[in-house]
Amino acid sequence: MALIKKILDRWRPVTYYEELAETGLLENYISEHLREKFESDDDFRNEILYLLMKHSKEPLPVVEELYLDKLCQSLSYFLEYTEQWRKQ
């Protein structure tokens, strides 16, 4: 499946968002035109973040913020998960 998906990814046409991401304008475009959708629609946000991570040539604070937020959530979950053992 992964191989098929990789082949399809190589041979499928480039999307508008991918072109914007390669040019480095996707973040500005989303923040100006699709901010509400980016904040409310999780699938859309994941797709955009994936395109940004894949095609961007410089660090993006949004992605960093997102990853740090995920890390904080994971660490908080980890702390919460291991709280019982730490107390013991």
């Binding site: 991570m53 961007s56 410089e58 660090p59 992605v63 960093e64 990853y67 890390l71 660490l75």
Partner: protein
Amino acid sequence: MEEAIVISPEVQALFDTVRRQAKEYANAFLGLERERIETERMREQVHDLFVRLKKEVDESFEAANKNISNSMLYLDTKTDQIDKIYSELSNIKDLKHSLNELQEGLKVEENNMQSFISDSKSKTALEIESNIIKLKAKIDKEIEVISKRTEYKMNLNLRQMEGRIYGFSQTILEVNDKIAKNESRRNAEIDSIKDEIRNIQRTNVYSAEMKKEKISFQADTTATGQQQLQINYNADMIQQVKSDMDKIRNEVNQFNKIKEEINTQPIIEDLEKIKEEKTEIEEHIEKIRKSGKLHIILIITSFVLYFILFIFTLINSK
């Protein structure tokens, strides 16, 4: 994971640090998981052991409960037996106490009976003596009265006899006078007849002789008649005297009989009564002695039973 350009190197370093620590945590968690699995296995073993032990303990508890229930049952039965033995022991103690009391009571009763017997003996002796004295006085009095009465009767009879004898002597005298008169008259008649005979002899010897014989026969008949009369009279008199003497003898015999009855019979009856009372008292004393022996035997047997029960209780307690 490929290097992302969108993330700054500081954040990547942070992520690397977090990743390394996460790996270390993962390794630690793997160790922990192994330990957990080992612990789980040990827990299962312990659980199995616990189950087995629980089963064994339950079985042991069940067996112990069974043994305890059997022991309790045995203990209850033994307790009942001991209670019964103790109750019997208390009964024996009560019996012993009552036997002691009975023994003491019997001793007291024996003493009282002995004193009563001695008192009754002295009293009966005194009563016998007083009764004998009273009977003697009564008998003497009765004898005196009866002797006076018989004396009076005898005097009366003697007086009557004297009167009768005097009457008989008077009649005898009268009869003698009559006989003398008759004899003189007969003599006179005989003389007159002799005179006639002499006269007749002069006339006829034969006839005279015949007359003489006749006259002599008449004279003989008169003499024999007189004698017969006198004999009959004397016989009557003797008969009357005999009958009077018999009467007096009978009265004397009756008096003697009455005297003997008065003298002996009540005294003999009283003596027999006293003898019967004495034998009854002796039999009563013998019964009391026999019952005292029986009570002593009962006391000894109760002591022996008490000793056997004491040994039996000692053996059960051991």
